[in-house]
Each structure stands twice: as C-alpha cells, then as structure tokens.
Amino acid sequence: MTAVLEVLVPGLLTTVQDAGRPDAARLGVPPAGACDPRGLMVANALLENPPGAPAVEITLGGVELTVRETTVLALGGADLGAVVVEEGRALAAGASHLVWAGQTIRFIGRRAGIVRGARAYLALPGGIDVPEVLGSASTCLVAGFGGVDGRRLRVGDLITGRRPSDPSLAGRAWPGPIVGDVTVVRVVAGPHGSRFGGRALDALTRRDWVVRPDSDRMGIRLSGPPLRHRHQGGSLVSVPVLWGAIQVPPDGTPIVLLADHQTVGGYPVLAVAIRADRSPLGQLAPGDPVRFELVDLAGAAAAWDTERAREAAVLGALARDERWHDHWRWAGS
C-alpha cells in the first residue's frame, strides 16, 4: 500500500486503536480501542472506512509526522492543532485533507480558546494497516500486543493505510459536532450502592470534580473531597468491571474506567457512565472539570437513541455531501 507516514516525534502517547476487543475480557484482556469511539468513527467515515477501522490515537499533541507518500487522511476527535508545517496550513479536526510527500504534519496541542478534548484520531484510507490480534488491531499496552508491535509509536515508525489513497476523498468535512460537551457525564447507579452511605450518589453528582494528572487510558482519576463507604465497604471480592464504571477505592477518590481498564476489580462501583457519554468521557484531559448527572436506565436508553439518531442524520448528510463532492472529483494526484 502506498499511503505512508513516518513518525518524527511520537508525543506523549500515540497508539493504533480500533473498536477494541471486548470479547477477550474473559481472558483478562482489557477491551482497548479508541477512548473516544465517536472520534474514531468520524475520522473513518470521512474516508469511507468501516466505522471501527484502526486509526492513530494521538494524546494531547506534541506529535510530528513526515509524509513519505502523498495521501489523503482524515482527523476525528479533539482539535489538537494539526498543521502542515511547510505551508502553515491548518488541518481541521473532523475533516479530510490531502497532504503531499515531503510535508510535515505537526500536532501543536490544545490551543487557547479550544479547550475541548484530549485525543485526536488520524485515519488513512482503509484503516491503518496492522495485523489483528484476538480480533482487533488495537494496541494492548500492558501485555504488549496489537497495534504496532504491541507498543506506543516511536521515532521512525511507518504508518500505512490498507487501501491506496483516493484524493477525491480529500476536502470533506464532518457536518456535525466533532467533540461534544465534556463537562457533564451522565451516569446510572452502579451495582454496589449498598456499599456506600445513602448520600454517596448525591456527593458524586452534586459537585465539580477535576481530572488528575495521573489519569491514563486505564482510567480517569478524579480529585475532590473523598466519598464515604459504609464500615468496611471499601473493598470486596473482585468482580468483573467494565468501561465507564466509577470505582471508589478505600481512599474515597473515584476512578472512571476507560478503554484499557483491568477486567476485574475489587473496589465498589458507585455509578456507571452511560454509553451515550462514553466519547465525551474519553476526551477528558488532566485539569479538566467534570460533573456527573444521575439518570435512570430509561433515561440512559433515551440518550443512546438520541445519540444514534443524531449520528445517523450526520452520516446521511455526509453521504449527500458526497454527491456534491463527486461533482468536483479531480483525477489522480
């Protein structure tokens, strides 16, 4: 395949991620996958890739890539200030772009005034070409498999798409929001409510929390006044846990589990983030404020339906846009 980027500066944490491997949890394998599944879907949709095709997940910026062969690429998720260095051309998030052999792409990072989001997704035609392990191309960092040699990207790594570049896919823009409102995450009550005092859910939902710097792809650690367990309620015989679970360790400071979470946990789960808010959750960065809002299961289901309908509408608009786009199709590169 021909679309090739080379990693010049790998940044904080840059990995290949797709829709993850939820079915391997019974082997102790974290689900992995994009922390913001919607950002992944947007980047892929712009290139007509399957929604869960592998893309490069970039954390907070500080990344530089050399274009070895002219290609179309697409960006989803957070706006991390991507520019083509030689031209000073900004590469908008939620859009596809043509970049030329020899150019350098730099992700400057979160810019003042654009405070939303921590993770950007870079898609190439057909998805990033890496082998699938246990049904997924995602990088399992803890066990060192999947993605590129089971590790974060480093200097000199080559990134290739699974399809030849089709320049006619350049210049498309996602006709909907790119990164949603990150400040409120809706939750349902968790399975271990009885382990906490009666007002623990109130305490979780009635105040602002701040994302701690030691948060990572395993979980978002929050700072704020500790939540109280009942007497000896702080630990239990380990149970299976899942993405979005809000665990409360004995010290009372909550951890919201993300894509690389361990499959079992011994801390009581006070609440669980709803599926509709999984993507905004995955866009929280250290220092960001976050609030939690309690909904019931019916509310969570309604939120999911709303999210899906919105997504379908935007995908429809993108497809209609394509007809307009065909009009402007220009031959080859």
Binding site: R26, L27, A143, S238, P240, A273, I274
Partner: protein, 226 residues
Amino acid sequence: VTTPSRIVPFGEAAFLVVLGERISAPLNRRTHALDSAVRERFHRDDGWGEPVPAYASLLVPFDPDRVPAADARARLAALVTAVEQSGIPPERPGPLVEIPVRYGGADGPDLDEVAERLGLSPREVVALHAGRTYRVFMLGFVPGFAYLGSVAPRLVLPRRATPRPRVPVGSIGIAGRQTAVYPFATAGGWHLLGRTDVTLWDPASDRPARLAPGDRVRFVPTGGPS
C-alpha cells in the same frame, strides 16, 4: 452457598450476577457452570456478548438495541434458577498443569523475607507452596493472569507495601490466600518466590491463556533451597 444469587444491572448493557461474596471453590464452580450455560444458550447473533466470570460473580453483556433489558433479565434469571436448582456442580477435576519452578535466589527475590516474616525457613515456604494442588479461580489483572487458590494458611501475607514497577515474566508470587504466575513482565505487588520458563500467555496462539478457570495447578521445584 445457600444465599440465592442476585442479578443487578451493571450499566445499561450488562447484568452482574452475584453468586456470593466469598472466595470459595463451590461458589466458583457454580459461577463457571453458569458461565458455560450462558455461553451455550445466549449467542452473539441474538445480541449477547461474551460473559466474564470472576470468583463468585458473572458479568453478562448484551446489546439493549437487540435484547430489551427486561427480556435479558428474565432469561438470565431463569437460567440462574436452573443452575441453582441443579445444585453445586460436582468437582470434576480439571486438567492438571504442572509448572516447574526455580525457587529463591534471583528468581524468587522475596523468598527469604517471606520466610522470615512467617517464622519459617525458605525450605518450608517452598514445601508449603509446592505441596498443594491449586485451582484456577479466574483470569484477570492482566491478560492470562490466573488467580490460583488457596495457599496454605501459614503462607498468608498481605501484598507488598510498594509494588515493583517491573516483575519479570514467569515470576511466581503470593498475596493473601492467592498465588499466581506473572504471564509477562509487568508491574506487580505480590511476594515473588520463584520463576518458571513455562509460557502462560501467547496472544497469537489458538489458546492464548495457558490456564483456564477450573484447571488444577501444581508447582514443581526444580532448584533453589529444597
């Protein structure tokens, strides 16, 4: 084991079946009997996910767009009742896996300290650790990490105050009533008694995790103090 199981929602797209709040072989057998029943009857094509078993609980994911939560709960409840009414499955001995271990020295850097803290000689610690057949209760922590139990009461220690940032692959540790082999190099807080060359995790193989719940494990000393 007499307490009936509870089914609680875990988010919108999974139920957690809690069979008990203890680590016990009978509860664990029942957990895995339920796991097998769920996998047999609830299929992906019908909107169910792969269940995840732990010590005495089972996570059963489903797609609420395809299986309404109320239906999922009713079908799961019927299955739980059926498994409970069939009693605790008899202990059908699982496959026996023998793991050769080099105890002590650089391979088991905590052996001497463990012995000292427990008022035993290193040789006695090895004899106690290798003198039992363990049961695989569950996989977790990291891929292929099998929680084995239960270690002799005289070997029970809380985990290390400060975890090691990197435990070498194949290290054998103890913590509480549990023992395990680290399937690859990773951070870990257990007391390290020895090391094996047996491969426990190979994601490229048909059976990535060498140990499965219900398997029996024996550690066979091949060196060190014995």
